[in-house]
Amino acid sequence: MRQEEDSDLVRQCLDGNQKAFEELVDRYQKPVFNLALRFTTDREDAEDITQTVFVKTFEKLDTFDPKYKFFSWLYKIAVNESINFLNRKRDFDRFDETLHSGKREEETVGDPEMTLAINNALLELKPDYRILVILNHFQELSYREIAYILDLHENTVKSRLFSARRVLRRVLMKKGITNA
């Protein structure tokens, strides 16, 4: 149902109806923002990524294949943009500096200590693992959807996700989170 509506909105966008794109932004800015936020743990970076994702989505709208879910396609762009963003940061050898400098604007909704601990634990995962945890646990996507988004075989998704959980479990236990 939702997918048909999304496809319909895409069609309307391609016909020049910008309001339809506005509706897509309304629907998906929050999940995209949260994906980027979990990946970078920085609100400003997440805003920048979200903005770029929607601009790229708009520009590439005519390449969207309606046989796929729109949000999976959008997430694909969001994941690529987040990874590229991280790589750019790493290239400039800045990411780790800012990561541990305490200067970043961390998100503190809910239990701030818990959120911070989980953010830090996520950051201890390598990006390949982190994105899997985010897509599976925070975005609640299936193996198949994740496989499409990351261009991986479903079995690879499973195998990496389970390994990522093992590492994350260890990190969180070290921080005294999951065995509280």
């Binding site: 920048d48 979200t50 903005q51 708009f58 400039f92 925070f138 479990r169």
Partner: protein, 249 residues
Amino acid sequence: MLDKRTYDLLNQEMDGTNSPRDSKRVREILERNKAAREVYAELKKLSATLRNVPKVDPPRSLKLRILNSLPRPSAATPSFWDRLSDFVRIPVLRTAYTFVGGAVAGIVLFLAFSGTPPDSSGLAGTIGHSAEVSARVDLPEVSGSIRGQVVDGTIQVQGSLQSGREFTLRVLFPPADARFVRSTADQPSTLEVSPGQVLLAARNNLTTTLSFVSDHQTPTMTVQILVDGTTRFEQRLVFEPERQTDQSH
């Protein structure tokens, strides 16, 4: 220590993707294997912990930012000029256009010569009339973002810029309207301050916040990026500190 097959089965069980046969097998394993029970319990705790992390609402200004940064549509709909051209071709309206056009031209000329000449905003124009404004920098040599905001009466110009070469971030402002207070730059850079101008020369990437104080109600600043002494990027930041802009509805 669990073998990989058992660990995978436990994960799949938690995800609800096991076949009925594998689920039965998991139940049997859990009955007789204490280590498996512990791992399974930990996996469930992990899942619950992550599930409890709340989703964060993006700022309400984000939608506006996104929509403002979309490229202009190149749709098949007729452009303004096409429509105007079609409209003008209607014979009975030509006389009316002559009068209306004359009146408009008169008003434009009057405004042009009667008031203060508008400030030239340079390459990219004004980007906002709110407490928070931002723009992307997408040059071949420098990329990133510029953000301006008013926090507790302090104007902050933040730059997060990546480059593989030397460049200069320059902020221009009317000296009577604002005063530079400090800079935070966590990379090697050279700061040069003079009335109405702050120059920050960076070797490659630059993350900085430049703070200013102003009594002016609508302070205007111009942010420039110079590469090899040439202005490659220019953006005006217009703030209205007292008004909270929210156009997300």
